[in-house]
């Protein structure tokens, strides 16, 4: 085996190279195919990263529940009863749902008058528990904060603003420390949301709303019932268990069928995340297939040229066979040649793709919604490995078939003098 290889290598290095023009065209075809597949995969990866980031904008591994009406008769109780959780149910749910790592309630007031100086707008105000900040990714810009457990306990009139909402009211002024009238009650602005990419929303984007402690909300609007209950799990796998515990706990308290989807139905982002991941994976595969086909065309080009070389060299191949070359010593150099051109083209393609990706990454995307979602093309090791493997495979095929033709040369036939 070692000897075979050394013979093949010697022959490979002795073999006359292709005509320059042919070699350049072949390498260019492969380079083009490589650029195509790498760019497609890089954009796919950028989009995927952006989608995942956007999905996380609302929070990770959370489920959102709305109040609902029963659709089934249960223990002598009729259907059509409205089931709403109350503020004091939250501690009960926390006790009954060990699989969950956090449970918060939400109360919402939609058309609320917000006034600062001469500027008045109407906006959405949500009352929530202090854990909401972390669970729903309400991260403050530098200089501000989300409200904490003390604010909640003391029913402090503090407000956290979405960044767009803050702009609408305050313009260029820094809102933190300002007093904002919420339905004529003064609140201290303590923080503004960091701009974030958010794909899912259940009452409008977080950037357009304001959040206050749920106890403060309850006091100002004299309300006990919750619009939403949001709970979180540590890992997506824990979500089915937590959902089950939620349905059991709530149905036991309000006496309805725990199987009643009309009441227990909720928005499970862990499940949605799985769907999104699958969708993005299929999309990437789709892009990869298109790229692979482009690359395959380049490979066919290589094979074509190798066939021409085999044809031109038929007599030389016959001579080598006559003086004692084994079949593999004939085929080996051709396979190596096909590989060399393919890998050379692949290397050029990789360099070009890296340059293109770097150029694209210099284009600013912030502020442009379409570009922001497209994200930035990203090359990673997996993409490079997959492309390299495909190149190797195509290179072997591009060399192998012409080489097989070479090995089938009949020396007695080719050496006959005409």
């Amino acid at each position: 085996m070692g000897r075979d290889f050394s013979v093949i290598l010697s022959l490979f290095f002795k073999a006359s190279s292709l005509q320059k023009k042919r070699a350049i065209l072949t390498v260019a075809a492969i380079a083009w195919g490589t650029v195509a597949i790498l760019m497609l995969l890089a954009f796919g990866e950028g989009l995927r990263n952006q989608m995942i980031k956007a999905r996380r904008g609302m929070g990770e591994n959370i489920a959102v529940w709305w109040s609902g009406e029963t659709s089934k008769v249960w223990q002598g109780l009729p259907e059509g009863r409205r089931i709403r959780a109350r503020l004091d149910d939250l501690d009960y749910l926390r006790a009954k749902m060990p699989s969950s790592t956090g449970i918060v309630g939400e109360m919402t007031s939609w058309q609320t008058t917000l006034t600062w100086g001469m500027s008045t707008i109407t906006g959405r105000v949500t009352g929530a528990n202090w854990q909401y900040g972390e669970m729903r990714h309400h991260y403050p810009q530098p200089g501000g904060r989300f409200f904490n457990a003390n604010d909640e306990r003391d029913k402090k009139r503090v407000i956290f603003l979405g960044n767009r909402l803050a702009e609408d009211i305050f313009g260029d002024v820094n809102p933190v420390g300002e007093i904002l009238q919420v339905s004529s009650v003064p609140y201290l602005v303590i923080g503004v949301l960091q701009p974030k990419l958010q794909m899912g929303t259940y009452k409008g984007p977080d950037s357009k709303g304001a959040v206050i402690p749920i106890t403060t909300f309850s006091a100002q609007w004299s309300r006990q019932w919750l619009h939403n209950v949001v709970f979180k799990v540590g890992r997506p796998e824990d979500m089915p268990m937590a959902r089950d515990q939620f349905a059991q706990a709530l149905s036991a308290k309000y006496r309805f069928d725990p199987e009643d989807e009309q009441v227990t139905g909720l928005w499970d982002t862990a499940e949605g995340g799985k769907t999104l991941a699958n969708e993005m994976r299929s999309f990437q595969i789709f892009l990869g297939v298109i790229g692979a086909l482009t690359l395959l065309v380049g490979g066919i080009g290589v094979a074509n040229i190798m066939y021409a070389v085999v044809k031109e060299k038929t007599r030389e191949i016959g001579v080598q066979m006559a003086i004692g070359a084994h079949s593999s010593w004939i085929t080996g150099p051709f396979v190596l040649q096909g590989m060399t051109y393919t890998l050379l083209g692949g290397a050029f393609g990789l360099v070009i793709a890296i340059v293109l990706v770097l150029l694209f990454q210099m284009v600013p995307v912030e502020g442009n919604d379409a570009l922001e979602f497209l994200g930035k093309p990203t090359l990673n090791v997996e993409i490079a490995m997959a492309t390299a493997a495909l190149l190797g495979f195509i290179g072997i095929l591009a060399g192998y078939f012409p080489a097989r033709r070479a090995a089938s040369v009949d020396p007695a036939e080719t050496l006959r003098y005409e």
């Binding site: 000897r3 075979d4 002795k14 007599r315 006559a322 003086i323 084994h326 007695a412 003098y417």
Partner: protein, 244 residues
């Protein structure tokens, strides 16, 4: 890789000293529609140290016979022993090994590899024969000097004359110290002067005790041989030894 033929016998190892032994050898080309019987039963024995010229008109089966002798092709019927070894039933690579070790080819149109130098051309069979790089170089130099081209080793075929190319080809044929030199019209493409140089070289090799089989139309060359075999319609019609 196994090397079943490696120096099992070294040509004259068998007692009778027959290099070529053909008994009722036939070759039929089956093209599917028609069968062409190129050789209809050849009986031919060549001893070590003979110089045999094979003559005959075009289409008589000379080339087919030469292909069989050189193991470029295998017979359809009858027996063929080269250096005491049966050739039937060997696969492509084994046949390649037999050619490499036992046969040195010289062709009418030289068939040198154009991109290689004279030296590299002579080294080629030794590369296939597993000779070490240093030994290859030494032996190739030696053979090129023997054929009078010691000063042309770095020339490529295109930089050599026809006679010089044929001498490189002869050096290449000698590289593996084969049992037999097979030449197919070795002077066919040469002018009279170079042709006679090549003939002298072949005679000289014969004088050194080598075995040569030459297919030729060239009467001058045929007369130099020690034995004249005439083929017609796939059979040997005359076989005569020159009177010493």
């Amino acid at each position: 890789m196994n090397w079943p033929l490696k120096k099992k016998t070294n040509g004259d190892g068998n007692s009778n000293g027959h290099i070529i032994e053909m008994i009722g050898t036939t070759k039929v080309y089956d093209t599917g529609k028609i069968k062409v019987e190129a050789l209809k039963g050849i009986d031919l024995v060549v001893e070590k140290g003979e110089f045999v010229a094979i003559v005959g008109p075009s289409g008589s089966g000379k080339s087919t016979l030469l292909n069989l002798v050189g193991c470029l092709d295998t017979p359809t019927g009858g027996a063929y022993m080269l250096g005491g070894e049966a050739v039937a039933g060997l696969d492509r690579d084994q046949l390649a090994d037999v050619r490499n070790r036992r046969v040195g080819f010289v062709f009418q149109n030289f068939n040198l590899l154009p991109q290689l130098t004279a030296l590299e051309n002579v080294e080629m069979p030794m590369l296939f024969g597993g000779v070490s790089r240093r030994e290859r170089r030494r032996r190739a130099m030696e053979h090129l000097e023997k054929v009078g081209l010691g000063d042309r080793v770095e020339h490529r075929p295109t930089e050599l004359s026809g006679g010089q190319m044929q001498r490189v080809a002869i050096a290449r044929a000698l590289a593996m110290e084969p049992d037999i030199i097979l030449a197919d019209e070795p002077t066919g493409n040469l002018d009279t002067g170079s042709g006679s140089d090549v003939m002298s070289l072949l005679s000289e090799l014969w004088g050194q005790g080598r075995t040569l089989v030459v297919v030729t139309h060239d009467k001058t060359l045929a007369q130099r041989a020690g034995r004249l075999v005439e083929i017609r319609d796939g059979v040997v019609v005359t076989d005569q030894r020159a009177v010493a």
